[in-house]
Assembly symmetry: C2
Homo-oligomer: 610 residues x 2
Amino acid sequence: MSPATAHVTFFPEGKSVEVAVGTHLSRAAALAGAFIDSPCGGRGACGKCRVQANGALSELTAAERNKLTMEDLDEGWRLACQATVIGDTKVKVPFGSLQIVLSGIQQQGKLAPGIRKVFLKLPEPTVEDQRADVERLRAALGAGARVSLDAARDLGHVLRAADFAVTAVLAGDECFAVEPGDTRTALYGIAFDIGTTTVVGVMLDLNTGEQVAVASALNGQAAHGADVISRINFAMSGPENLAELQRAVWETINGVIAQILRQSGVLRERIYELVAVGNTTMSHLLLGINPASLALAPYVPVNGEARVERADRLSAAINPRGPVYALPNIACFVGSDTVGVIMATRVHDGDRVRLAIDIGTNGEIVLGSRRRLLACSTAAGPAFEGAEITFGMRATDGAIEKVWIEDDVKVQTISKGRPRGICGSGLIDAVAEMLRLGLLDQSGRLIAQDDACQALPRALCDRLVQTERGYAFVLATVGKQQVYLTQQDVRKLQLAKGAISAGIAILMKELGVGYDDIAEVLLAGAFGSYVNPASSRAIGLVPAFPLSRLISVGNAASVGARLALLSTEARGEAEEIAARVEHVELSSRPDFQDIFVESMFFPPPAVRLG
Amino acid sequence: MSPATAHVTFFPEGKSVEVAVGTHLSRAAALAGAFIDSPCGGRGACGKCRVQANGALSELTAAERNKLTMEDLDEGWRLACQATVIGDTKVKVPFGSLQIVLSGIQQQGKLAPGIRKVFLKLPEPTVEDQRADVERLRAALGAGARVSLDAARDLGHVLRAADFAVTAVLAGDECFAVEPGDTRTALYGIAFDIGTTTVVGVMLDLNTGEQVAVASALNGQAAHGADVISRINFAMSGPENLAELQRAVWETINGVIAQILRQSGVLRERIYELVAVGNTTMSHLLLGINPASLALAPYVPVNGEARVERADRLSAAINPRGPVYALPNIACFVGSDTVGVIMATRVHDGDRVRLAIDIGTNGEIVLGSRRRLLACSTAAGPAFEGAEITFGMRATDGAIEKVWIEDDVKVQTISKGRPRGICGSGLIDAVAEMLRLGLLDQSGRLIAQDDACQALPRALCDRLVQTERGYAFVLATVGKQQVYLTQQDVRKLQLAKGAISAGIAILMKELGVGYDDIAEVLLAGAFGSYVNPASSRAIGLVPAFPLSRLISVGNAASVGARLALLSTEARGEAEEIAARVEHVELSSRPDFQDIFVESMFFPPPAVRLG
């Protein structure tokens, strides 16, 4: 018998998902592609994941009673990380709940998108005023305005069909479209985060800055390799392959746009701009630039700078004349997604030294302040996304997302489904708990079953078994089906976390700071939203800070893209950031191997316990 | 028996034509599409049509003995308007013989084309210098330089294939192509004069300003009407018609480019820019802008300003990334060709008031000086190009091009062919001579045969006959075939010349100048090169000036396009001219009809005889 389910619909997107009863609203939102920030990691501590819900939900938790006022409760506010689904529910994700930085733009009156509309009632031509249509329009738009050839081609007809009352659409000083009548209220753009694995698009109303719709899809390039190196190798093995990779990512993007159009009912022609962030390889492939040099010493990008190109020249399925703005990259493996993280977290602008870690298919690390800012990338590998791990899987239904070990192992799966495998947050939880109980030692070796039976409860001892994949620890058993973690899996995790913590160590060394000098550690990416900060610290993925200094910032790269969509000033800032960040090439440092090997060890118990 | 012929080959174009023995070199050059200016109208008076000839030509004329030194003669110099062909001849058209204004650019060191090439040996990347390829190139190009996405796409491969020694091709500050090695010597552009009837392209070497090749073709739009009004009507009768007209003109242009490539052996990719002038309708159709509003009161263009567009976006068959620069238009029927005439003649820059007349399918008139400049267009109609006249034809083999009347009529045909019809210059000559002898009166009425027989030689009286097209004067008879001018033909000419001289009169009135205030009358266009200034004056097409003030300037519009190709400063000047010229709309003036009717009369004998 399958578990009871319920439908949860998220607004303003209007996107609906079916989830198991008992699923947290925050998880349902993630499945629906509705992004809700949870800076405290879903512990109910920050109160940032407030949503307005109408339907059948669990009783209020203590955390909710603590964070919500009586008035809030009357209005139906809940914390998405606390409330679980009992029956069909409608949820309104308030603007600003996740978009603290974005709302800052509005509050400070900085909403200044690259695209703007101007409604004009032009004087009609007479024998005394025989100015050309283009000149007439330019005069009305004011000094410096230009009219593109496309707009000029429409102009004669549109002016006369609309009695000279038209809306000019401008990118900067260039009017690239004229629309009959007053269309000012219809002004949209989409911010894209182009991940190696996942492509996420968020449509914003450029008049208000509000999020109108969001959608995501798996990057269609995945057929040609899971990581950037295999994509680059594919691109290098034939000119038609580069074209194929470019086609694949645009097909994915256009699929996301199609979802957004369906959700929102907005006309394609009214989406006037697309802004994109991504790692450097994705940025190259998006623009059709061969990324070969990224994979060959001395590792240089072909293009680092921001690019603006017409949508139709990149086959972006928005208004064909609208611009596509691709944010600048920092270095070979530190892309515009990292620029987005910096923009969203404002690490570049603070007096205090802060550390930001964005773990996706690669791991990028940023350390510094307004005085000096360093960045590096680490070949974290896709272990945290579930790849390379025996029972690894993406964070979808049935993935073990949380693990506790007391007398026996307890797991929580996404949507409370039958355990099918383990995702990144579950993996880190499992290893942290196994370390705590001594199932793993500091070197990462799984305890021998004999030793375990002497020191640990029987239930745990029984979970240590020989499998066809070698010695392993069983996390869950459903019928004859087991989900376990092998010695080899632990080694993979050690390599991944070792690369990241070595990167952090080298940036700290380069900047000349110790742990006490770092005010905050910001965890970005989908990873950052769902991983348990305490577990991350326990395995030594992040330094041994008090938990109060570990902050989840969600998909900060996407927030950076949204900032660039809403503010040309933010674009200028992005370009300054890209130029200013000092890239530290780990592979060329003689000290890297040493620190890397050392970092593969797990922290001693004293550190783990904080 | 057909007359003896000879081949004349013109260099540097290398284009060959077969002409009748006795043909002037200047006419052979025109047939070959090799433009030779003849400011004095082919009278041997100015010496500007100097060419170096090697072959069988006529004896030196008195004019040549007067204009050429012994040294010139030793080097083979002849005057193209004097020397006639006896046998096969090779002719070198020197740079500067026709291009007085163009050579001025070189002499004054003003050669500054929009396209330039820079050869660079870039430092190769190292682990210490991991700048992106684009950044590396930009740094070498200097402050302000940008690299287009197309160039960026090539850059990674080209740099590494050429050991980082490359030639950057720039339009302004934008590098739009990178070529391996040093290609600086291969840098070409083509200047086009897009006529309603004829399209002429001249390829220039942008390193030296020299003319490399020239070619022409009939405008393929002619299938949809001979004049601009019928083209506009066709464009208005369906959106696919606009596309067809744009396609047709680009097919014509690309055919001319193909001829130029064959003549010169230059690679298509090495032609980096195309500059075009044309009347306002041609400018609209070239850019794919619907010209409907040009034909409807209150007569306004859609686009007046200069336009730059990528070649591939206009299907121009040059380097697909190179720019197409279309010069600005002044008004509805005063186009960028008139801007070109002003640039070439520098009417806008002189202290003295000058009058420039460009007669093609329409007639545009410019009057003024550096203080104030007026322009108008007249519906001259294509009478001067042979249309609408019973035996009218274009200036090709067999066209009567010159007419003298003494005791009887003598005609000269192009290439000395059997008379088949009459072209513009022959028509003006014929009417001027008929006026002189009283065959036509001041009102344009053909003398009655009875009256003629009393006053004129018998041979002339016999030429006045009734034909199936009405009463007419026979110019030539070959067997049973006659070429004659009907009363109706004379009326057509009166309408055409009346429109032009009325335009001149109105501009003079508007500027407040009399005949004595006008220092020079400049006759531009193919018409201007071949018409006899005295005959023009005799029929009242141009004012009654001393012949010394009537100057043929040849295809000045094309020279304007060439100036814009060679000098960005000249483009700035073109844009200033277009903004500055005051357009006088003849149709809206209450005094136009009066002056037009008056202008249809021929001048009294005293004026005709100068």
